[in-house]
C-alpha cells in the first residue's frame, strides 16, 4: 500500500515540481531521493507490516512478502536506472520532470498489477502502466521513428486492451455469481464451462501481448527500437517483468486449479517464443534491436514459470526478473554511451574503455546464462521448475538448445569488444563519469553475488 500511494503522491510532486523548477538536473535528484524513500517504506511494510495509510482495500489488493519483494526488485532496478541514466533522461526532451512523473505513475501501476486481487484492479493497473508508456515512447518528438513507435504501440496496445476486456467480460458472465475477484471466479478443477474457457484464452492472449510472447510479439522490436533508449531499457526490463508477475499471479490464482487444461497453450507459446526470439536475434546488426529480440527470447524462459506453476517457478520468476533486469539495464546503460548502435560500433571498446567492456561482458555472460552469474541461477531455477513437473522434458531440452543459440549473438558483442580493432579513435558518444563506472562495477558485482548466492533474494520470499 505504501508503495502505491507514495508513488502516486511523488508523481504528483514531480509534476508540480516541473512547473516551478527550471534547472534540468534537480528533478533527477528529487526522483532518486523519492524512489529511495519509497523503497525503504516498502521494506518497512514488508518486514514489520507497518503501513502508513490504513485504507480498506475491500480485498481488491492483496499484499504478501512475495509480491512486496517483487515490488522491491522492480523499484530497485528503477532506482539503478535513474542513477545510471538520469543524465540521458534529461537529454531526451525538455519536460524532464514530467518524464519522471510518468515513470512514477508507471511504478504505481506496477505496484498495483503485482498486488491486484480483482480483475478491475488488473485492468486499471495495466492501463496506468501502458498509457504513460505510449507517451514515453513518443517522447522524442522530432524523431520520426519515435513517433511511429508510439503510434504502433498505442494502436496495438489499445487493441489488446479490447481483447482483454472481452475476456474479462466472459469470465464475469461465466462465473457462478458474477464476480471480478480472481480467487472466486472458478472453484475446483472440473472441466471449465465454455465461457470461462473463452475468457481464459482471451486473457492469455492479451497478457502474452504485454509480455511479448510469440505470436503476439510483433510490436516489441519496433517499439523498443523506436523509443528513446533510456525508456526502452525501462520498458524492456522492469515493465516487462511486472507484466510477467501479473500474468503469473492472474493465472495462478484464477485458473491454477485447472492448470492441466490450458498447459498446451503455454507449451506452444514457450516453444514459439524461444525459437522466434533467438533465431531472429541472430541476424540483427543493431544492438538495440538485437536486445529487443533477446528480450523476447528471455520471455520464453520466463514463461516456464507459467508452465510449471510451482514454488521453484515463483522463486525463479523473481530471481529471473532481478537477474534479467539488472543485466539488461547495465547493458543498455553502456549502449547509450555508444556513438554507433550497430555491433561494429562496439569494435575495440575493450582497448578504449576496458572497464566498460569488462562489465558489459559480465552482463552478456549473465544473459547467456554462464555459471557464476545471476543469469545462470535464474535459468537454472526455471529449468528445475520445469523438470519438476515431470512432463514435456523435450521442451526443456529445446530450451537449452535455444540458450546455446543465444550464446551466438551475445558473444558477437564480446568478440567485437575485445578481439576486433576499432576504426575511429573514439567510439563513445559522451564522456564517462567515475560514478557511472562505479555503478556499473557494483551492478556487475551484484550480478555475480546473486549468481553465487541466489538465496540472498529467494529467501526473502518466505517470511
Amino acid at each position: 500500500m505504501n508503495a502505491i500511494i507514495l508513488t502516486a503522491i511523488w508523481g504528483v510532486m514531480m509534476m508540480l515540481g516541473g512547473a516551478f523548477i527550471k534547472s534540468k538536473t534537480t528533478p533527477k535528484y528529487l526522483a532518486i531521493f523519492g524512489l529511495a524513500a519509497i523503497i525503504i517504506a516498502n521494506c518497512m511494510q514488508m518486514n514489520s507490516g507497518m503501513a502508513f495509510f490504513s485504507v480498506d482495500v475491500k480485498n481488491m489488493l492483496h499484499f504478501n512478502s512475495f509480491n512486496l519483494t517483487f515490488i522491491n526488485v522492480a523499484f530497485g532496478c528503477t532506482l539503478l536506472l535513474f542513477l545510471l541514466n538520469g543524465r540521458d533522461i534529461e537529454k531526451v526532451g525538455e519536460n524532464v520532470s514530467e518524464y519522471f512523473a510518468l515513470i512514477f505513475f508507471i511504478l504505481c501501476g506496477i505496484a498495483i498489477i503485482s498486488t491486484f486481487n480483482s480483475l478491475l484492479m488488473l485492468f486499471i493497473g495495466i492501463e496506468i502502466v501502458s498509457i504513460p508508456l505510449y507517451i514515453l515512447t513518443g517522447s522524442d518528438k522530432r524523431n520520426l521513428k519515435s513517433n511511429e513507435a508510439a503510434l504502433k504501440y498505442f494502436l496495438m496496445g489499445a487493441f489488446s486492451t479490447g481483447i482483454m476486456l472481452l475476456g474479462i467480460a466472459f469470465l464475469y458472465g461465466g462465473s457462478a455469481t458474477g464476480s471480478f475477484y480472481i480467487d472466486n471466479i472458478i472453484s475446483g478443477n472440473a472441466p471449465m464451462p465454455a465461457m470461462i474457457a473463452a475468457g481464459l484464452v482471451l486473457l492469455l492472449i492479451s497478457m502474452s501481448f504485454k509480455v511479448s510472447a510469440v505470436p503476439f510479439h510483433f510490436w516489441t522490436p519496433d517499439v523498443y527500437d523506436g523509443a528513446p533508449t533510456v525508456f526502452t531499457s525501462f520498458m524492456a526490463t522492469i515493465v516487462k517483468a511486472a507484466a510477467f508477475f501479473a500474468f503469473v499471479r492472474l493465472f495462478e490464482n484464477t485458473f491454477g486449479s485447472m492448470h492441466a487444461q490450458w498447459q498446451t497453450l503455454i507449451v506452444i507459446l514457450i516453444a514459439a517464443t524461444l525459437l522466434i526470439g533467438n533465431l531472429t536475434a541472430v541476424f540483427q546488426q543493431s544492438v538495440k534491436r538485437m536486445l529487443a529480440y533477446s528480450s523476447i527470447a528471455q520471455a520464453g524462459f520466463m514463461l516456464f514459470s507459467l508452465f510449471a506453476m510451482n514454488n521453484l517457478a515463483k522463486e525463479g520468476l523473481v530471481l529471473y526478473a532481478a537477474a534479467y533486469s539488472l543485466a539488461s539495464i547495465g547493458l543498455f546503460a553502456v549502449l547509450i554511451k555508444m556513438k554507433d548502435y550497430t555491433i561494429d560500433g562496439f569494435n575495440g571498446l575493450g582497448k578504449q574503455q576496458p572497464l566498460l567492456a569488462v562489465t558489459a561482458t559480465v552482463f552478456l555472460l549473465s544473459l547467456t546464462g554462464i555459471p557464476l552469474t545471476a543469469g545462470f541461477q535464474s535459468k537454472f531455477y526455471m529449468l528445475m521448475a520445469a523438470v519438476q513437473t515431470g512432463q514435456h522434458i523435450w521442451l526443456v531440452i529445446f530450451a537449452v538448445l535455444c540458450a546455446a543459440i543465444s550464446a551466438y549473438y551475445y558473444f558477437r558483442i564480446i568478440q567485437a569488444m575485445f578481439f576486433k580493432e576499432c576504426k575511429e579513435d573514439v567510439i563513445l558518444a559522451d564522456d564517462i563519469t567515475p560514478a557511472f563506472k562505479i555503478l556499473l562495477v557494483l551492478t556487475a558485482f551484484f550480478i555475480i553475488v546473486l549468481g553465487i548466492f541466489p538465496g540472498m533474494l529467494t529467501d526473502w520470499l518466505y517470511f
Binding site: 555472460l365 554462464i370 555459471p371 557464476l372 537454472f380 529449468l383 528445475m384 523438470v387 519438476q388 515431470g390 522434458i393 526443456v396 531440452i397 537449452v400 538448445l401 540458450a403 546455446a404 550464446a407 551466438y408 558473444f411 568478440q415 575485445f418 578481439f419 548466492f453 541466489p454 538465496g455 529467494t458 529467501d459
Partner: protein, 495 residues
Amino acid sequence: MDPKNIWITFPELLIWFPLVAGLVTFFIRKEKMVKQWAVLASLITLLISAASLIYADNGKYFYYNNVSYYWLRYLGSNFTVGLDGMGHMLTALTAISFPVIFIATYKNNYKNAHVFYGLMLLTQSGLMGVFTAMDLLVFYFFWELAVIPVYFLCSRWGGEKRIQATFKFFVYTFTGSLLMLVGIIYIYMHTVPTAAAEHSFSMNAVYGVMLSPEEKSWIFWLFFIAFAIKMPVFPFHTWQPDTYEQAPTSTTMVLSGIMVKMGVFAVIRWILPVFPDAVSKFDNIVIGLSVIGMIYASLIAIKQDDLKRFVAYSSIAHIGLMCAAIFTKSEMGLQGVMIQMFSHGINIIGMWIVADLIEKQTGTRKISELGGIAHKAPVLTIFLVIIALANIALPLTNAFVGEFMMFSGLFQFNFWYTAVAGLSIILAAVYTLNMIQKVFYGEANSITGTMQEISLSQKLILAVLVVLIFLFGVYPQPLFDLTKDTVLNIITRLK
C-alpha cells in the same frame, strides 16, 4: 583427527590459491614481474599439491582432503570438495603442468601479459575445482568456469583464424554442457529426500538415484555427449584441431594436457557409477565409436602437414583408446586409463613444448618446410625423439604401461575391437616416424639453417618431463597405489 582444528583443507587451497593469485595478476603492470609472479604462484600450487600427496591416505587423513560447506542448502547443494586417489593424481598433473608451461613459454611475449597470465591461473583454479568437486552442481559450475578463461585466451592471443575457431569450440562445449545440465536437473529431481532438503546434488545422493532403465538410457546420452565433446570422441572432435591450431601454444598445452582429461575424468566419476546398466547397455556403441576414432584420427595424422594439427590428431587417437578402455568396465582398463591420463598429460605437453620451440625459431609449423634440425639442435632432437616415442608407447616409457593395460582390458572385453584398435599402434609408429624423419633428419634447408640449440632453462624443463616419463615408465606402481581405491570402488559399483 578432529575436523575442527583443521582451518583449511587441501582441496580448498588448491582451488582458492590459483584463483586469488590470478586475480592479483590482473593488477600487476610490469610484464617481467607478471611472468615471475605467475611462475612463482604455479610453483606454490605445486608445493601444495605435493603436500596433499603426503596426506593422500584418505582413511587416516580424511579431514585433510574432504570438506563441505552449506551453499544452496535449500536446494540441497553444498560446496563439497574432496580429493580421492583420482583427484590427487589429476590435481598433481595440473599442478605440475602449469609451472612447466609457464617456464617453457617464458620467452614468449604477449600483449597485456597480466591479463594473459591472470586468465591462465583462473583456468588452473577452475580445473582444480572440476577434479575435486564432490557435488554435482559444484562440478557443473567449475566445468563451465574452466572453459570461459580459455575462450578469452584463445580468441584474444590466438592465430589469425582464432575467433571463428574458438567460438566454434565454445558453442560446441557450451551446448554439450547445457544438455548435461538438463540431465543433472533430472537426476536431482529423482534423488531421495534428505534431512536438509527434499532433493540433493551430493555425490552419494546422485550415486543412489532411483531411475527407470529408459530414463537412465537417455540421461546417459545427455551426459555422455557433453563429455564426449570435451574429450573428444570420434564424431564430436572437429573443434579440436582448429582450436589447437589457432590457440596460443601455452593455452593449447592446457587444453590438450589437462582439459581433455576433464572429459575422461568426468566419465569415470559421473557416468560409470551413476548409470551402470546404461553403460553396459551402450558399451558396444561407445567402444565402437572410440575404436573407429582411433584409426580415423591416426590415418588423418599421417597426412597432416601442420605440427599442431598433427599433435591434435594423435591426441584424438589416444583419447579414443582411453574412452574405449573406460567402457570395458574392467579393473585393468580403468587402471590403465588412470595412469594414461597422467602420462598423456606429460607427453603431449612435451610435444607442444618442442613444437613451440621449433615454431619460435623457424617461424613455421609446416612439416614439409622443416628438415635437418637434428644436427642443428641435437639436444632438442633427442628430447623430441624420446617424447615422441613415449607418445607411441614404447616400453619403459610411461605411456607403455597405460596402453598395455588398456589394451588388455579391451581384449578381455572383445578380441576384435582390440585387433582393430591395435592397428593404431602401427599407424602411430608410421606417422610419428614420418614426422621425426621429415622435421629432424635429412639435410638442413634455408628455414632450419638458422636453427640454434635450445637454452638451458628449456633443456631443464624438457629434462624434467623426460625424467617423469622414464620414472613412471619403469616404476608406475606409485600411481597404481594412488588410484587403486578409486578404481575398486567404481568396479564394485558397476557389479
